[in-house]
């Protein structure tokens, strides 16, 4: 039996600010717990060393404004790079699955990056997924976001990608940051139904989440048949988390992962640093490694501690029914959209708020309504940075699945955008694995 890979990178020398939830202390007690348990000595476990992501790995997903250096620290390169190392080990078959216990987190980061959103600058899972597709030719990937907050960054990045099934369950956006993740958010016009949101009422317990897992998440995965399943593993559904209001326990997390069987789990949020994280991380490791976790619990936990809110089961059943239907009719709906589409592009205006850095970004997004592929996308984005500088950028993204027409038109769009009034124009060509930025005034172009 192959071991489970663990990559533990607590970034003991990195914090957003000294008292911020994302501080050095966050994984300190997890370190104590997993080292005291001697988990890394077990034959079922192989410990991996952190790695560094390259700028190209980041450019495969993000348009960083004004450049990558401005948006990240070395800690981000190590965190993302560690997810890549774990993914390498899983895909090459060195380990049966892997858990990257890393920080800083990433699931609130979107395609365009003007600053830090929800403690995130760059999206570790998205960088990992695109790296795997580039390096190993994987195609279909499922990301199950189990963080209590809606994974709005990951959702936005794969919004128009029908080959990535993004499932997020989270505390209802009406009661928690970032205020999104409603059932109506189902993916772009040509990727309808591969974004599945599951908003949960506050105080949902292990029972409720495992119900959703069994009745909705597992059937979706079975039908989608992904090459790889990623758990975007937040730990803030825990009953003791200070930033949310759910009632999930370490046993619940362990059981969830035992059933979900993710190929790779990547740590996201979770800010109950003492009462939850040490136990949840143990539970996740044990579940992934197939170790009996019946002796694991938080010191203050008892199985009868929480009761599922009244009427919750019925509400969950309605979500299950609706979302199964949405998913199953997706191909039909997309075909209809294509047949009816009378314009070459579908345009959308968006406002994006960066809570940590207090930035308001305006976006105009266009997706080509292609008859053969899911189209390429252009984003024109502007925002005033905390420095006071106003940035306006144009971005073109040619996805892995782009047809030859979309590739040609995407390249064309890169040139056309340079005639406009944005300061920087980006081309992200995933097929050629080429990433360009041009300064429209100096005409200086950099390539990765």
């Amino acid at each position: 039996m192959k071991p489970t890979g663990i990559l533990f990178f607590p970034a003991f020398d990195w914090a957003i600010s000294p008292t911020h939830p994302e501080r050095e202390e966050r994984l300190l007690y997890t370190r104590d717990q997993i080292f005291e348990e001697g988990i890394m000595d077990l034959p079922q476990i192989r410990e991996y060393q952190p790695g560094l992501a390259t700028f190209k790995d980041i450019a495969r997903v993000h348009f960083c404004v004004p450049d990558i250096e401005a948006q990240i620290t070395e800690a981000h390169l190590v965190s993302a790079g560690s997810a890549l190392r774990m993914a390498d080990a899983v895909v090459t078959g060195e380990v049966k699955n892997g858990f990257a216990i890393i920080r800083p987190p990433g699931h609130h980061s979107m395609t365009v990056v003007h600053g830090n959103r929800g403690f995130c600058n760059i999206n570790n899972e998205a960088i990992m997924v695109e790296y795997l597709r580039h390096k190993y030719g994987l195609k279909r990937i499922a990301i199950v976001d189990t963080d209590v907050h809606h994974g709005d960054g990951t959702q936005e990045i794969f919004w128009d990608d029908p080959d990535v099934l993004f499932i997020s369950f989270h505390q209802d956006g009406r009661t928690l940051y970032p205020g999104s993740g409603f059932m109506e958010e189902k993916g772009g016009p040509l990727a309808y139904g591969t974004t599945i949101n599951i908003p949960l009422s506050p105080r949902t317990t292990d029972d409720g989440i495992l119900f959703i897992l069994d009745k909705l998440v597992m059937p979706l995965l079975e039908e989608f048949k992904p090459d790889l399943v990623v758990n975007s593993a937040g730990q803030d559904n825990h009953y003791s988390d200070p930033l949310a209001n759910m009632c999930f326990s370490a046993q619940g997390y362990a059981r969830l992962n035992q059933r979900l069987k993710p190929d790779i789990a990547v740590l996201e949020g979770g800010y109950s640093v003492e009462s939850a994280l040490p136990y949840i991380n143990m539970g996740l490791i044990m579940a992934m490694a197939g170790i009996d976790f019946s002796n694991l619990k938080e010191p203050d936990y008892s199985p009868h501690k929480f009761k599922e809110p009244a009427g919750n089961r019925e509400a969950l059943q309605r979500i299950v029914d609706t979302q199964l239907r949405v998913f199953r009719e997706r191909e039909e709906k997309i075909a209809l959209t294509r047949a009816k589409s009378d314009r070459p592009f579908r345009m959308e205006m968006r406002n994006i708020f960066y809570d940590t850095d207090y930035i308001h970004e305006q976006q105009r997004v266009e997706v080509r309504m292609c008859q053969t592929c899911a189209g390429f996308r252009t984003i024109v984005s502007s925002a005033r940075h905390p420095s006071g500088r106003e940035y306006s950028v144009g971005c073109v993204s040619i996805p892995f699945g782009a047809c030859s027409e979309c590739q040609t038109e995407g390249q064309e769009a890169y040139r056309t955008l340079q005639q406009g009034n944005t300061q920087l124009v980006y081309l992200q060509n995933k097929i050629a694995d080429e990433y360009r930025v041009i300064d429209t005034r100096s005409k200086q172009e950099t390539r990765l």
Binding site: D41, V78, L296, K297
Partner: protein
Amino acid sequence: MLIGIDVGGTFTDGILFDDGRILAAVKKPTRTDNLQESLLAVLDELLSAAQGADIARVVLSTTLVTNLLATGQGERTALFMLPGYGLPHKAYSVTADIYFLQGAVDFRGRVIENIDSNQIYAALQDIKQKGIRRIAVACKFSNRNKTLEQRIRDEIVKFDPNLQVTISAEVSGKLNFPRRAATAYFTAMTITEWNRFAERINQAIQARHLDAEIHILKADGGTMPLSASLSNPCETIFSGPAASTMGAAALSRDKQNSVVVDIGGTTTDISLLISGEPLYASKGARIDKHFTHVNAFAVRSIALGGDSVIRCRDNSIRVGPMRIGAAACFGGDEPTVTDVFNVYYELGVGDAVRSQELLESVAQSSQMTLQSLCFFVVETVIDRLKRAITEMFTEWENEPAYKVWEVVHRRKFQLHRIIGIGAAAHAIVPILATEIDVPAHIHHYAPVANALGAAVVRPTLALQLHIDTASNLYTTDSGGLSGTLPDPRNFQLSDAKVLAMSCLEEVSRARGVEKYTVNASFFMEEQFNMIRGWDRVGKIFEVGIQVAPGFIDEYQGVSE
């Protein structure tokens, strides 16, 4: 004058050292059934060579505890484990005589579950029936709070004052409960036999009217006084490879990256010096498949040495792993690896004609030419050594890191040279070095480098101090110190370092090595703000201080 004696598996080596020179070297076969005899025979020869001159220090490296554990001859010991919540009980398998008891401590040192006297009583009744006289007690996170272990010891002594108890917090205070439990268990198993041995050595020294300090070599390449070894027998394991590696460091004495290749009769031990410092095994010494908290060098042993016999079986050439006797050129009955290198590279070692004659006959029976036989053996030997060396580099490069700084500043291992030691190094190491394309360093003291290493290394002591100002508690990972702070609210990293130094001094006084604390240096300085809500409620400090492996002041290198 200094004496170093390394009791190895096959031979016991000893040297008498003074003023940069080895005045006498003695090599005798080890009597595995009587280590003490082997040791004293070598000591007596060295003493007579000293002609009554003053001996300042005698350092002994012995395989006694290693042998006891390897052959399962330790005393039967019960292990009381308090694993609390986490891994299932079946994950712990160091002995069949395990008793799982109630009681739990968490990472902050808080007692989260109490012990149960009735359960302890029942376990003790059972132990009594089995006739077990010795108990090791290990509680998860006892390194943060040892009160549960102490209370259990009290209960045991109350039950029967003749039962011998070892508690894990007093053996090691490092994180890793299974390793701590195993270390406590192995300590309990071997402590009586080790103390008996130490007492006999002590008497023998008295009988010889020696006014020398007697030290024991540890797995970490440092020494401890014989008296301090009484409660830490496990630290004496694997001291042989430590002696060799420190011997290599003593002969090279610089900041290069080196591979130390110690080619003995039947085995070759490979270790690394990184910028001149020996590399430790990241998971501690492994005893009987169990990791422990014994700090030991990272050593890779392969069953291949200068005396590995060359035979032909089923029409193919076998290289070792057996040793029949010495190499043919030194009068052995069968050709060995040393003979092959002797003939192939025309080294002219010993009776080279005899090397060639015996190899010819093996070549004939395998229908090969002498030349191709030798070529095959040389390839095989060099290949196995190269592979082992590469594996060691990779292991070192793949060590985990937990800070951004460590990842960004990680370096590739760049090898500067190979240091050959041991009896057969002269024949094999230069060829290996040419193959890897680095220089070979083989000192003429290389054959006795292990005994030299033992003779000249200084005591080592490492201590990690954990301070939690919110709980107002500090604990150390060695020496078992703990206490409270005078002013926890205003405690700073600089205060933590002062406290660490005074802890080190206290522990070194208890071990009788206080004069070496002037060599202490900090190897870890971490602090964490503890934030609850948006307020700082305290700080956690981790400060590491050590007297690292090195050499006593009297040692200023060897004269060429």
